[in-house]
């Protein structure tokens, strides 16, 4: 097993001591068992944290939209309405589980789980910090793109199996949108992979710096455009406004999850909000320096390891949540675009620009040996 958390802990004295004493008392080598335990605990903690962020995302969405529209928003449950997501979850749990007549039972029950599966498996490579990540997979970015395409299948199945016109239209729109917008996302990620020379998040982060002028977004003009291509395509990939055509309330009732009630609906919503968080985290890792501390290398190397990890985690969450705010802000600012425009934006604007970026970055790598623009100007 090739886990970053385990190898991070195994460099400390106390971990090795604990394993040694446990092995002596139990009479066999417990290293594998202890690492599995550490890994499971870390995975559970990360899952719970991300699910909480997803739950609080609904609260943040309502609160920020209220702020933008000069309203108050939820303020009854708990201080500032902070316990609202908990109340919502309780309400959804106690709702009746309705199964539409003539719907396909197997696919209807499978669809929300496919969505949740696709989103939560991406957490395995989410680079929270250099040590506390579950694993720095060698194909990290590629893995995230690949696994998150399961969401498309879930959305389509949810729409098809509901046996309802609105759901059907929403599911079709969702699936076609998700597989179309994967193209510009992948190409703009390949540009970053070319720059950093590896697909693992560790490599991508370590080839950037902590300060803004060392980030990939300001590396050269092409990556600057690439960030916006990635972010806009990501909004479409996660079905967010202004690309929320699969769940357009005014025309499709609620799209692919119209017929879902109770916990199954909650699973769809949870998957959506966690996916937005993953998108923001990936965007901040690829373009905004990831978990790197904005301090010179000499200061960071003198700090204790635990403090470095803690601050890296904080920096990571600050960047990701700032982008999360932008996503919500965009939703309550821009109107929804038309469905034919959606596809033409993808294929006629974003994809050509992404290919242009990829070629530009490749030429930049050859001509300037991968130096950033600011470095070339100021040296």
């Amino acid at each position: 097993m090739n886990s970053t958390v385990v190898s991070f802990f195994s460099q400390f004295e106390f971990f090795n001591d604990a394993v040694k004493s446990l092995s002596e008392t139990l009479g066999f080598n417990t290293y594998a068992a202890v690492s599995l335990l550490v890994f499971l605990v870390a995975a559970t903690v990360l899952t719970i944290v991300c699910a909480t962020i997803g739950g609080l995302g609904t609260y943040a969405e309502r609160k920020i939209s209220a702020d933008i529209q000069a309203r108050v928003g939820p303020n009854r449950v708990g201080p500032y309405g902070l316990l609202q997501p908990l109340a919502d979850a309780l309400k959804l749990l106690t709702k009746e589980d309705i199964f539409p007549a003539n719907a396909d039972k197997f696919m209807f029950y499978l669809a929300p789980f496919l969505c949740v599966l696709g989103v939560f498996t991406t957490l395995a490579v989410l680079p929270v910090s250099s040590g506390l990540t579950l694993t720095h997979l060698n194909v990290g970015v590629f893995y995230i793109i690949a696994v998150s395409s399961l969401v498309g299948v879930g959305v389509f199945l949810g729409g098809y199996a509901s046996n309802s016109k609105w759901s059907m239209l929403g599911g079709m729109r969702g699936a076609s949108q998700i597989i179309s917008y994967e193209v510009p996302i992948t190409i703009s990620i390949i540009a970053i992979v070319v720059l950093s020379g590896g697909m693992s998040f560790e490599k991508i982060v370590s080839s950037q710096g902590g300060l803004p002028h060392q980030w990939f977004i300001f590396h050269n003009p092409f990556t600057f455009i690439g960030f916006f291509i990635f972010f806009v395509s990501g909004l479409a990939e996660t079905n967010r406004a202004p690309f929320d055509l699969p769940e357009a309330e005014s025309e499709l009732v609620s799209g692919y999850h119209t017929e879902y009630t109770g916990m199954r609906f909650a699973l769809f919503a949870l998957a959506e909000y966690v996916e937005i968080f993953v998108l923001c985290a990936v965007a901040s890792t690829l373009f905004l320096g990831g978990y790197q501390l904005p301090l010179p290398e000499t200061i960071v190397s003198k700090m204790p390891a635990a403090a470095v990890q803690l601050w890296q985690t904080v920096i990571f969450f600050i960047k990701a949540l700032a982008l999360y705010y932008v996503v919500i802000w965009v939703r309550w600012t821009l109107p929804r675009i038309r469905v034919d425009r959606l596809m033409s934006i993808c294929w006629k604007v974003l994809t050509p620009f992404a290919i242009f970026n990829l070629i530009g970055v490749s030429i930049w790598m050859v001509v300037f040996k991968g130096e950033s623009l600011l470095k070339i100007i100021f040296h």
């Binding site: 097993m1 090739n2 594998a32 396909d104 197997f106 696919m107 499978l110 997979l137 060698n138 194909v139 590629f142 893995y143 793109i145 690949a146 696994v147 395409s149 399961l150 498309g152 299948v153 389509f156 199945l157 098809y160 079709m172 699936a175 076609s176 597989i179 994967e182 590896g198 697909m199």
Partner: protein
């Protein structure tokens, strides 16, 4: 240990879902079982140290082919699937008389013999039983693709372009003349 667990899970997933894909009568369900099989195969690739192939498998099949198939099933009328006389036990060809089956049995025996002979050669291949460490294959695959296999790589890009243009032309709506 971990590899064994992953192997067992993937193998069971493959066996279960592929049989289910064969026996189910609804082609939509068949596509979903295909999805399970593909995920299982990508798990097997991971146990074979083929991380890049595993992720490519998930990306291309799950993100592309399965959704395409679901779309095609939906656009071509979805549910009516089992045609006349085509049940699971109707797998045996219905045509022919006693002599067909006799010849078929004889042919099957001959081909089975040849197949068993081939298998016996394959089983005798030298197999290295030393455990290899899990290492990344991404860099070496990239180098191989642009050195040894560069012709196939370029040809596959032409093939994909042809497929893209061809399928767009075939499926485009035409005016009734």
């Amino acid at each position: 240990m971990f590899i064994w667990v992953l192997f067992l899970i993937s193998a069971l997933l493959i066996l279960g879902t592929s049989v289910a894909a064969l026996v189910t009568k609804n082609i939509m369900h068949s596509c979903i079982y295909l999805l399970g099989t593909l995920l299982g195969i990508s798990g097997l690739y991971i146990t074979l140290n083929a991380d890049f192939v595993a992720v490519t498998q998930i990306m291309v099949y799950v993100g592309g082919i399965v959704i395409l198939m679901l779309f095609a099933v939906m656009l071509t009328g979805g549910k009516e699937f089992v045609s006349k006389g085509q049940q699971l036990l109707g797998l045996a060809p219905l045509m022919g008389s006693k002599s067909t089956y006799v010849f078929g049995l004889f042919g099957a025996l001959v081909f089975g013999g040849i197949f068993a002979k081939l298998i016996s050669y394959i089983v005798k291949l030298p197999i290295d039983s030393t455990e290899q460490k899990i290492q990344s294959t991404v860099e070496s695959i990239g180098k191989l693709l642009i050195t040894d296999h560069v012709l196939a790589f370029e040809l596959s890009s032409v093939l994909l372009l042809g497929a893209l243009v061809g399928s767009a032309i075939i499926a485009r709506p035409r005016r009734e003349s």
